[in-house]
């Protein structure tokens, strides 16, 4: 009889939800009660909204349990493991039971995330048991030439997943065609888009797939040195990458004459980013590895010709690279089966914001945004009204509800004014103010601008000032036009993608929500009831308990009332700071 196995998901998200304690508790009880079962760890399967997740495999099948916090461990051991009676209430999915939340998996196709949440990311053996490093073996055993590898990548149609969407095979071809005594391959793991975490999840869940992807790339372009540029905010990813690199070195998968291919030598090292969004841009990233300020350089020459230390260099994103071994092993035509004419394969999206099932999903290109949000994502939290979705982070744009039938592929998304970006999908409902969101992104890009180009440096600041004014009720006629004018100038006169795309969130929100801008400017109203300065604050007498919390917090003493008596806000004193609203625990402050 096979031993029962308990697998706990230990990704960053899971750990934040308490999975570490769950893992320890299984160990503790097993030890204390001397029960015979195995405990393993894995990373995450993207179901953040039900973390901590635990999978139990016994002779009757597989059971996925959700929300297994420490308190439930005892019960699960007692009922399921000791007495073979699974607990349907906690089960997300098994052969017999299927909870509503299991719809999260319907329609997903896992290529990039094939191993995430299924294998122990700290074990090279588990990666290999799932076909890991078989792509490299295939190259070696069938004497696949570098040209043939590049042709396969071209045939698969895969486009860069880091934001640009440039065909990966073409980039490799350029890098191959430049001769040099030294070439570099770089994995871009800077994941700067605030609101996206697919790269982190892949690095934490399946680091070897990225390393194998880099190997194949190095073989194809003729590189002998590799760098993984990873942001320092991802300590767990860095730890697991280090473990994976060590394991690969020990097995001889890194070093000289790898996989028996004569003269194919490769060493890979990790560079920790130091916190600058602009370093995700490839020339800035190169400058940063060289030890300088991460400021973009002029292209051409492109990195394929003159990159790191002036040698030909190929840079790909984590997600792009994780697909490569699958493509080589299964053949490009298998990959190209999925997707649309010009966007092949699958794409990972990070679903966040006002959505019921927040997490990571991998879907074939060509599915509609609506299906992602309603079928996989379960719809909007609190059944509020869906308003818009932000795609592509600070470089992207807002897609309104009425365009949610848009399919996800590079060209359809671009047509709306947003971009596919890295795949962050932030869902907004009727309580999210789009002007505030646009201001948020401008604040971000304004801070992150490297300062080299005048329009990016100063223009973003001026735009931010105008947006701040608008959200504080001091908007003027002509502000919208002024925003548009500055936006176009910044787009036209910036050196790198940061400046060229920074105005997108503003332009798309003006395009689709002009009336909301106008309500702020003309009527001094925020239709979403979100901009603090544009609201009126009133006490709801029925709810007020007279706890005085609001009055104590009010910076201008605008609230009067005795203890245990209904309080009252003096409208002519109130400065609309919103403190009373956050202080009141009894929902007794009304916004209007």
């Amino acid at each position: 009889m096979n031993k029962t196995t308990v697998i706990v998901g230990l990704g960053s998200c899971g750990l934040a939800a308490g999975a570490g304690k769950t893992y320890d508790e299984f160990h503790r009880i097993r030890q204390a009660d001397k029960i015979d079962f195995e405990i393993k760890k894995t990373s995450c399967i993207g179901m953040c909204f039900r973390e901590p997740l635990v999978e139990i495999i016994d002779e009757t099948g597989k059971y996925l349990y959700g929300n297994v916090d420490v308190k439930r461990v005892d019960e699960i051991i007692e009922k399921h493991i000791k007495n073979f009676s699974p607990i349907p209430d906690y089960i997300i999915e098994s052969e017999k039971y299927k909870s509503e939340d299991a719809s999260f998996f319907d329609g997903q196709v896992k290529i990039t995330l094939r191993n995430c949440g299924h294998i122990d990311p700290e074990s090279i053996e588990e990666y290999e048991s799932q076909g890991g490093y078989e792509a490299m073996r295939k190259i070696s055993n069938t004497n696949m030439s570098p040209e043939k590898v590049i042709q396969s990548v071209l045939d698969s149609g895969i486009r860069g997943r880091g934001g640009g969407g440039f065909p990966a095979g073409m980039k490799w071809k350029f890098a191959r065609n430049f001769t040099s005594d030294k070439k570099f391959v770089i994995c871009n793991a800077d994941e700067g888009d605030p609101g996206a975490f697919m790269d982190r999840s892949i690095l934490e869940g399946d680091p070897h797939s990225v390393i194998e992807g880099m190997m194949i790339c190095a073989y194809a372009i003729g590189a002998s040195e590799g760098y993984i540029y990873c942001r320092a905010e991802y300590p767990l990813a860095i730890k697991r990458l280090n473990i994976a690199l060590d394991q690969a070195r020990k097995k001889g998968y890194l070093g000289e004459n790898i996989f028996g291919i004569p003269n194919f030598n490769l060493e890979i090292q990790i560079k920790e980013g130091a916190g600058a969004f602009v370093c995700g841009e490839e020339t800035a990233l190169i400058a940063s590895i060289e030890g300088e300020r991460g400021m973009p350089r002029r292209r051409p020459p492109f990195p394929a010709e003159s990159g790191l230390w002036k040698h030909p260099t190929n840079i790909n994103n984590v997600e792009t690279l994780a697909n490569i071994p699958w493509i080589i092993y299964n053949g490009p035509e298998e990959f190209a089966k999925y997707g649309t004419e010009k966007s092949k394969g699958t794409k990972v999206f990070a679903l966040t914001g006002k959505i019921k099932h927040g997490g990571l999903v991998e879907v074939p290109m060509g599915i509609t945004i609506k299906d992602i949000i309603y079928k996989l994502g379960g719809g909007i939290t609190g059944d509020k009204k869906f308003k818009a979705v932000q795609l592509g982070g600070p470089s992207g744009g807002c897609i309104p509800e009425y365009l949610s039938h848009t399919i996800v592929d590079y060209d359809s998304v671009n047509a709306t004014g947003a971009i596919m970006g890295s795949g962050g999908m932030v869902v907004m409902d009727e309580t999210t103010c789009v002007v505030d969101v646009a201001k948020f992104f401008l604040d971000f890009t304004q801070k992150e601008s490297c300062g080299k180009c005048t329009f990016c440096r100063i223009g973003t600041k001026r735009m931010l000032e105008i947006l701040t004014r608008i959200t504080e009720g001091e908007g003027r006629q002509g502000d919208i036009e002024m925003l548009e004018e500055i936006a176009h100038t910044i787009k036209d006169s910036s050196l790198c993608g940061l400046g060229q795309t920074a105005p997108n969130p503003v332009l798309t929100t003006i395009k689709y929500f002009r009336d909301e801008y106008e309500a702020h400017i003309r009527d001094h109203k925020c239709p979403a009831l979100s901009c603090k300065k544009l609201l009126t604050y009133e006490v709801i007498a029925e709810n007020c308990t007279g706890c005085m919390a609001c009055a104590k917090g009010c910076p201008v003493d605008a609230i009067e009332g005795e203890k245990k008596q209904v309080h009252n806000i003096l409208q002519d004193v109130c400065i609309q700071c919103g403190v009373c609203f956050t202080k009141c625990k009894f929902k007794a402050i009304r916004l209007s």
């Binding site: 960053s12 998200c13 750990l15 934040a16 939800a17 953040c48 909204f49 973390e51 994941e191 700067g192 888009d193 605030p194 609101g195 996206a196 975490f197 982190r200 320092a232 905010e233 991802y234 300590p235 560079k271 920790e272 980013g273 130091a274 916190g275 600058a276 969004f277 602009v278 940063s288 590895i289 060289e290 030890g291 300088e292 300020r293 991460g294 230390w309 990070a350 679903l351 966040t352 914001g353 927040g358 997490g359 932000q390 982070g393 962050g424 932030v426 907004m428 999210t432 969101v437 948020f440 992104f441 971000f444 304004q446 801070k447 992150e448 601008s449 490297c450 300062g451 440096r457 956050t582």
Partner: protein
């Protein structure tokens, strides 16, 4: 723009700077990276790991022993968000102000902690226990709003919970301090 002011912020001004640190601690680091290409950032990162910030004396030592120019080092140190030029508190509270956390109302939480600790973004409390910082995305966006203290990440926060966590840490610190003295 991505340039930090070099002058320490006012909140820290009132706190005496610690004495010149033991610079010998840097020797192995310098030995390791001295001759490597692109060593500037790893050297600064290593120094910060030792002292928790990069003391001015450390810059001088790096300049003497590796030949890296002071202006280059300060240029890099002020460009990247990671580097600190003045000491931080024992616990660094990183409030995520990424998109998802913004949409889920992290601002109210930061304001609450800011009030509670009486510091603004980037400042250190007088007792040197906490530094409050805003960062862009900790990668746990589905658990927004999120904050990270040390290696621990806390998700699905409310202002109340966040201040509870912070108060708890402060209480433990005080207990430990009292136990020592």
């Amino acid at each position: 723009m991505r340039i930090k002011r070099i002058i320490p912020q006012t909140a820290i001004d009132s706190i005496p700077m610690p004495d010149v640190p033991d610079l010998a601690l840097m020797d192995p680091l310098i030995e390791k990276y001295k001759t490597r290409k692109g060593n500037l950032i790893p050297l600064l990162q290593g120094t910060q790991e030792i002292y928790g910030y990069i003391p001015h004396e450390a810059f001088l030592k790096l300049n003497r022993e590796t030949g890296l120019k002071l202006n280059e080092m300060y240029g890099v140190a002020t460009f990247y968000a990671q580097f600190r030029l003045s000491p931080a508190g024992k616990h660094i509270i990183k409030m995520c102000h990424g998109t998802a956390c913004h949409v889920q109302g992290v601002t109210a939480i930061t304001d609450e902690l800011s009030d509670l600790l009486n510091v603004k973004d980037g400042e250190t409390t007088e007792d040197r226990i906490f530094t409050l910082e805003t960062v862009a995305c900790l990668g746990c966006c589905s658990l927004a709003p999120v904050m990270m203290i040390g290696e621990e990440t806390y998700g699905k926060l409310t202002p109340k919970e966040a201040s509870k966590i912070v108060k708890e840490i402060r209480r433990n610190e005080k207990l430990m301090e009292n136990a020592k003295s």
